[in-house]
Symmetry: C2
Subunit: 238 residues, 2 copies
């Protein structure tokens, strides 16, 4: 089973939550097939609906032999345990997972900014609400979350949870990239307060293990269908 | 260390996310001290600010000897591994955690209903936005999430992840209780579609392991400061 590539299923058009898993697979040199990028969204929906027993609530999910594993942080915990992209000693392992779940929280809030009142409705049908949500996200939530990761790096750096990079460092990189795409003015204003996080972002961007991937077509650019979206009217220095 | 009670820190006035941890501690017969209920919110804030290294982003957190463990689902995973309130075989264990993270997702969305545009502002300052968010949550998100857990029980019941109750069953109980408090009319309308989930809720409510706790003052009632809040104008049959 270890020799068989894993099957990853995620929406093929956006980086989204799937990208946190892809970064760990790629940096860990773990063989996988990105099934919906080969076969399309309809194949994903069909596959997901056919899964019983360990059914996923939503993509991404990873197939491990006969088993189906969903929830991004849960998949990363598994990959960390089995492929050296996580931590092995018990409490750094728990702490890395704790940080990953905190990244999941800000990712959900970042999505909420452009869809504060109805996930199923279009952005242009909730622009007024989104403007209020963005103001609060920029002024309060971004400094709170990013300041937290900066403080963790101040405690324990240069990596978040161990003596070398782990999946959670890759995820902080992806979070910063997403926030820079969506809120470039705000991220520029916050940059002086985030020296350790931005240095970590730069180190991940230069990891030899990721060089091929980041310059390949496998890396999906951020876009206006994803979790992180750039609407200039939702960005601002404050 | 196993003989020492754990220290749990969570806001003392609300059930909130802390209650998911409390239910597992209580049903598992695991000794703990509920520090902020003994010492107050200010003691919690002071303790949290003093923690470095494995610092929590937010309560609840559990102290395990010298270690600090945060994020509700992460704490439950730990308690499951060490105290028999979870699953021991690998994939039911992963699946239970996956379900717990999905419960965490709907809990965050339930909070978002009454605070869709600013977590830091009062509900009465975002009532119009909350009305839209509630409509979408009731019509789309509640059936989607609750229908998912119902389908899992249809696949694998009568318990969500194993042959006896585990922490994730206690959490589904708490989720249903919270939704019934916040959205009684909507939950009544959905009841015919959720026979297996509601039967699970009733079995958990009658677990001998929880009898003392649920009738004690340690069990904090839902209230208007928590995650699940009852605003009649946000409820409805549809």
């Amino acid at each position: 089973m270890a020799d068989e590539p894993y099957d990853l299923w995620y929406w093929p058009e956006i980086p989204g939550r799937g990208e946190f898993v892809r970064l760990a697979l790629e940096a860990g040199g773990i063989a996988y097939r990105d099934r919906a990028r080969e076969e399309g969204s309809e194949a994903l929906v069909k596959d997901m609906r056919a899964r019983l027993g360990e059914r996923p609530f939503a993509p991404p999910y990873l197939l491990i032999g006969d088993h189906c594993l969903a929830q991004t942080a849960n998949i990363l915990l598994y990959l960390g345990d089995h492929h050296g992209v996580g931590l092995s000693r018990p409490y750094p392992r728990c702490f890395a997972h704790q940080l990953q779940l905190t990244i999941a929280d800000i990712v959900a809030e970042a999505h909420n900014v452009h869809h504060p009142v109805a996930m199923s409705a279009y952005y242009h049908d909730q622009k007024a609400e989104a403007a209020r949500a963005a103001k609060s996200f920029r002024a309060e939530r971004m400094p709170k979350f990013l300041g937290y990761f900066e403080a963790v790096l101040s405690d324990r750096g240069p990596w978040l949870a161990g003596e070398r990079w782990s999946y959670v460092d890759l995820s902080l990189f992806q979070l910063i990239e997403g926030l820079r795409y969506a809120f470039p003015r705000r991220m520029k204003a916050l940059a002086p307060t985030l020296p350790l996080s931005l240095a970590l972002r730069d180190r991940v961007a230069k990891l030899p293990e990721l060089a091929d991937y980041l310059s390949s077509e496998r890396r999906i650019p951020f876009n206006q269908d994803g979790i992180f979206r750039h609407y200039p009217e939702l960005d601002g220095e404050k």
